[in-house]
C-alpha cells in the first residue's frame, strides 16, 4: 500500500539530500540546486498532506496544491535573485567557491 508515510519519507530523503548539497558543496550553483531540492521536497510534502489528510470545513479541498504552486513560483523568483547574487560574486572573485565568502569572519 502507498500511504502518507511513503511520501513523507521520500520528501524527507529529498530534503536531506538537498541539505547535504547546501552544506557540503563548494560550488555556489550546487548550493542553489540543493536549495531547489529542499523547496521541492517541501512542495511534495504539501501535496502529500493534501491528498491523504481530510480537510476540515474551514479550509479548501485543494489548499495543499494551491500552496505548492505558490512554493514553485517563490522558488523560481528566489532562484533568479540568487543567480544574480552569484553573478556578482563571480565578477568580484572570478570563481564561485563559497569558501571564499568569508568577509564576515571574526
Amino acid at each position: 500500500m502507498i500511504t502518507l508515510h511513503s511520501y513523507l519519507i521520500i520528501s524527507a530523503i529529498l530534503f536531506l539530500l538537498g541539505l547535504f548539497a547546501v552544506l557540503c558543496r563548494r560550488n555556489a550553483i550546487a548550493v542553489l540546486m540543493g536549495i531547489e531540492l529542499i523547496i521541492n521536497a517541501s512542495g511534495l510534502n504539501l501535496i502529500a498532506f493534501n491528498t491523504f489528510v481530510k480537510q476540515s470545513s474551514l479550509t479548501h479541498a485543494l489548499s495543499g496544491q494551491i500552496f505548492s504552486i505558490f512554493i514553485i513560483i517563490l522558488a523560481a523568483a528566489e532562484a533568479a535573485v540568487a543567480l544574480a547574487i552569484i553573478l556578482s560574486i563571480y565578477h568580484h572573485f572570478r570563481k564561485i567557491d563559497v569558501m571564499d565568502l568569508e568577509q564576515l569572519k571574526y
Binding site: 541539505l19 547546501v22 552544506l23 565568502l101 568577509q103
Partner: protein, 716 residues
Amino acid sequence: MEALKMVESFIWLIPVFPALGFIINGLFGTRFSRQTVGRIACGSVFLSFLVSLLSFITLLAMPAAERILHCRCFEWIKVGNVSVDIAFLIDPLSSVMTLVVTVVGFLIHVYSIGYMAHDRSVARFFTYMNLFTFMMLLLVTGDNILLMFVGWEGVGLCSYLLIGFWYLDHANNDAGKKAFVVNRIGDFGFLIGIFTLFWSLGKVSGGTIWTLNFADLAANIHCLKDITLNQALGIAHFGLGPVSVLTFVGICFFIGATGKSAQIPLYVWLPDAMAGPTPVSALIHAATMVTAGVYMIARLNFLYTLSPTALTVVAFVAGVTAFMAATIGLAQNDIKRVLAYSTVSQLGYMFLALGAAAYSAGIFHLMTHAFFKACLFLGAGSVIHAMSNKQDMREMGGLKKWMPVTHWTMLASTIAIAGWPLTSGFFSKDEILWKIFESHSVNMWHLVPWALGIAGAFMTAFYMFRLMVMTFYGECRADQEIQAHLHESPGVMIWPLRILGSLALVGGFVGVPYALGHFIHFPNLFEEWLAPVMGGLLYKAHVIVPVTAHAVDHAAAGHHHIAASEYLLMLLSIAIALLGSYLSYYLYTRRQEVIERFVRTFSTLHRWVYNKYYVDELYELVIVQGVKWLMRKLAWFDFHIVDGLVNFSGRVLVWFSTISGSVDYHGVDGAVRGISDQTIRLGALVKLIQSGRVQYYLMIAMGVLVVFVLFFQLGG
C-alpha cells in the same frame, strides 16, 4: 612709722630695678650711646641701693624682735603639697646683703664704664651685669628656698655669660663652661638637700607641714631634730640610713655651697674664671656671687645649729681650702690668679666661721672681703689697663710712680686683707679665728681648722705683699713700649677704688668685738644687728643645742665673760699679719736671691704648688675622661643595640611589605588577570565559530534543530 611701713610693699623694687635695666639695655642697648647704656645700668643699681637703704632705715626704726619686712607678690607654684610664692623678705641678714651687693655693685658698674670704654659690646656687658645684679638680689631677698635657688642658678648663668664675654677666644668659652658645669655639680647636691628637707619635714610632721619658706622652716625645724634619714624617708634599709636627716641635708646644701663658693672639691672653676673682664672678676668672683653659699648657710643657720656633724664637715673643708688655696697663691705670677686663689682662701675663712656656728662673723667677713677684694680686683684691672693688657707680675714693678692712687688704694686693701690692726679685715678675720678656736671646747677637732686658718693668715699676708712689691715697688721690668703707655686710670675708675679702699680701712668698725669695744662701751653693732636672725629670736626657732659657750651668751644678749685667751689670740693674729707682711716685703725687695735659692732647692715642691697640685689634671683624667669613656660605651650601646633594633624592625617591616606586595601582585591581581586571560582564551575559542561562511552557520543551525527534535521526541 606708718610711712616707713609703706616701704614694706615696695621692697620688691630691690631686685626689679636691675631687672628693668637688663630689659632696657638688652632690647635697646645697641641703639644707645655708650654713656647712656652705662648710665642706665648704674642708675638701676643705684635706685636699688636707695630702696635697700630705705628698708635698712625702716628696719632700724623697728624693735629688734620684729625686724621683718615681707612682701608677697603673687602665687608662683601650687601643686599638690608644694605651695611657693614670689615673695621678698628683708630682715637684718638680707638687708646687710642687699646693701653690700648694691653698694659694691654700683661702684663696680661705674668702674666698668671706664674699663669697658673701648669695648665693642658695651651694651651686652651692662645687660649681663644688670641681669646678674637682679639675680643676686633675688637670691638674697627671696623668702623661700626655691626663689633663692632661682637666683642661685641665675647668677651661675650670668657668671658663664660674663666669663665668656669675649667669646671669640675659645679659651674664654671653655672657662665659662667649666664654671657652669662645676657649679651644676654642686647644684645637684643643693637640689637633693631641698627635696630631702621638704619631704622629711612633711612626713615627720604627719603630713601637715609642707613648706619651703625660711620663716616656716625656722619655726618647725625642731621636728626633725633626732630623726634619721631612714625614718624621714620611710625606707627600711638604706645605706646612709642611720645618718641624721639634718646632717644629711646640711651636707647636701654645703655641697651646693662648695660649687658656688669655690671650696674643695669644686673650686677649680674660679681661677679659670679670671678669663673674664676684670670688673666681672671683681663683682662676681670676689664680692657677690661666690658669697652666695655663705649667705645660704647663714640663712639656714637654724638647720646647721642642730647638726654639729655638718658644721664640723664645713669647718674642716673650709680650713683645708683656706690653707691650700693660700699655698697656691704664693707661687702664682698672674696678678689675677693670685687674687683668685686669695678669694678661694678667704671664702674658706667665711665658711670656717660658719662651721663654728659664728654665722654673723662669717657674714661680717663677707662684707669686709667684698670691700677689700673688690678694691684689689679693680686695682688689678687698673694695672692691667695701664700695662696694655699684660697680667704677669714678673713684667711689672715700680708702677707706684705712674699709678699713685691705684697703689695707695690697693695698699689699703692689702693691709686690710692681711689683717693689720684696726682695718676691717683685722676685725673680721680675728673674729673668725677666735670663734673657731673657742669652739674646740665643744669639738676638739676644731683646733685643726684653726691651725690651718692661722697658717693661712700668715700666707695671706705674705702673698699679698708679694703681689704689692712685684707690682708697685722696685725697678720696672716692663718693655720700653709698655712703659711709655703707663698711666693712671681715669676718674670714673679711680673714685670707686678710693671709696672701696676707704671702706676696707674703716668699714670694720661696725663689728668691733666686745672684748675691745667694751672699754669704751662701743658695742659690736654688726653682731647685735644680726643676732635676732641667728639666735632664732626673729623666727621663733627653737635653738636647743648651743654650739659654743658664746652662743649662750649671745642669747642672753650680754657678754660678761671674756677669756684671756681672746686677747692672746688677737695678739697672735696681729703678730702673724705684721710678720708675714714684713717678711714678704723684705725678701722681695732686698733679698730676691733668697727667694730664688728657695725655689731652686725646693723645685719639686714649687712645681707642685705652681701647678695647683695638678688638681685640674686629676679631674681631667678621672672625671672628664671617665665620663667620656662612659659616653663611648653608651654611644656604642645606642648605636648598635638601640639603633640596631630600630633598623631591624624596619627590615622586618620591609620584609612584611614585600610579602604583602607580592600577595597583592601575584595573588589578587593574578586572579583578576587570570579571569581576563581565561575570558580571552575562551573567546579565542568561541570566535572560531564565526567563520564568515554561511554553510557553517547553516550546519550549526541544523545541528541544534536535530538536538531540539530529539529532545522533544524523547523527553518533552
